[in-house]
Subunit: 239 residues, 2 copies
């Protein structure tokens, strides 16, 4: 695994693929075919301006209720509601949501950290269509490097039964979400279940990315066998 | 990350640490201080004989009901009940359980694959005390290698909201389950949440281990910053 160094703070309109390619090149890193580029959703959302100013949000009665129960800003609770298909419940100060894209977790993929010191409080959402964002980065990186890569966009999610969070895939391009085809165990007995490979890769990259001030938003994973996929979607992994 | 090669099929009574050390040494791999040795619970359970013969299990009425609803062997359902504090629900053919150690997942950590071709059907349980198993492996590896290592014992768990499973930590030694101390974001604002580091490391190792016939039960992770912990327990991570 290779952490791309010196990625600058991303602004709306930035070309993520161009920046990744440039930073890797300046570090003498050469992409290879079948590399998997894992990108935190945060920089993708910033580049795509998938952000909301809390000052422009008017909380509903329901959002105010959620705020009261959890001690959170009612405007932030309204953003959770806006970003979700469904509010599944409350767990202490956490609001468990089913995001409009189907992901279940706390806080509807809305981030308040690493958003810069600004006059107004700005929160970061998931990209509108993370699969499309991944495809765009993949296509541009292929153009720049001449290599066939896969791209995973990731975010950290909490788990109801375990403290703290781990990284999951929220958008994919060029890689199937899990191994395709039948697998067998050591004794040639069919295995019905298989691993969610893109989630394991996202978690592995998360191990290097950290979640606070590490400033490593892009990790390249090399040497992992995977099934190349065209027209794949992270939605294929959701129940 | 380094996959220890040529680990033989493990039998009851085998010394896992000795085998890991020997296989790594024959491959010219030298352990270093702060290496994290990730071991799949399967070989630990086999070495500790944490296995059950289905022929010796008499299913209760409740286990028979579970079997009927899920299409599973009633004796296997009884093992799930025996290994669980609580049966949380049914999801298609999956039975969601709270394991006696507190882990929530499908099938109570009971594995039926890679258990050998035997006259009798044998299933593999989680080790009785995976933290203790991790401590034992750590202590023996330290004795053999002279290095300060951490050990994580892992298992794959399904997630209710995502298809397929990923690797989680079920026992730890020498490593805190998550970063200790306050973290700040890029703008020095405190971050309240942090990543479940041992779970991300387990998932990363799972990326190399696979789950079918890959035969990679041990992966060494190097270069990850972590907080060394004495008397740590995976239970500290459970809600």
């Amino acid at each position: 695994m290779y952490a791309v160094p010196n990625i600058p703070l991303i602004k709306a309109g930035d070309d993520i693929a161009q920046i990744i390619y440039k930073c890797a090149k300046e570090d003498k890193f050469g992409f290879e075919n079948r590399d998997i580029v894992v990108v935190t959703h945060k920089i993708v959302s910033k580049a795509e301006n998938a952000c909301v100013k809390l000052s422009e949000i008017t909380p509903s009665v329901y959002a105010k209720e959620l705020a009261e129960k959890t001690g959170r800003d009612p405007r932030l609770c309204q953003v959770y509601v806006n970003e979700s298909k469904e509010i599944l419940g409350i767990n202490g100060r956490h609001i468990v949501t089913r995001h409009r894209l189907g992901f279940v977790g706390t806080g509807a993929g809305v981030d308040t950290s690493n958003m810069g010191i600004l006059d107004e409080e700005i929160v970061c959402l998931l990209p509108r269509d993370p699969d499309a964002s991944a495809r765009k980065i993949r296509s541009k990186l292929k153009e720049l490097s001449g290599k066939e890569l896969a791209v995973i966009i990731c975010d950290t999610y909490g788990n109801e039964y375990r403290k703290h969070s781990i990284n999951f895939a929220v958008g994919i391009a060029g890689i199937h979400p899990y191994p395709i085809g039948d697998t067998v165990d050591l004794y040639d007995r069919p295995k019905k279940s298989s691993t969610a490979q893109v989630d394991e890769i996202a978690a592995a990259a998360g191990m290097m990315m950290g979640q606070a001030n590490e400033r490593i938003p892009v990790v390249v994973v090399r040497g992992v066998e995977y099934k190349v996929g065209k027209d794949v979607s992270i939605k294929d992994i959701l129940t």
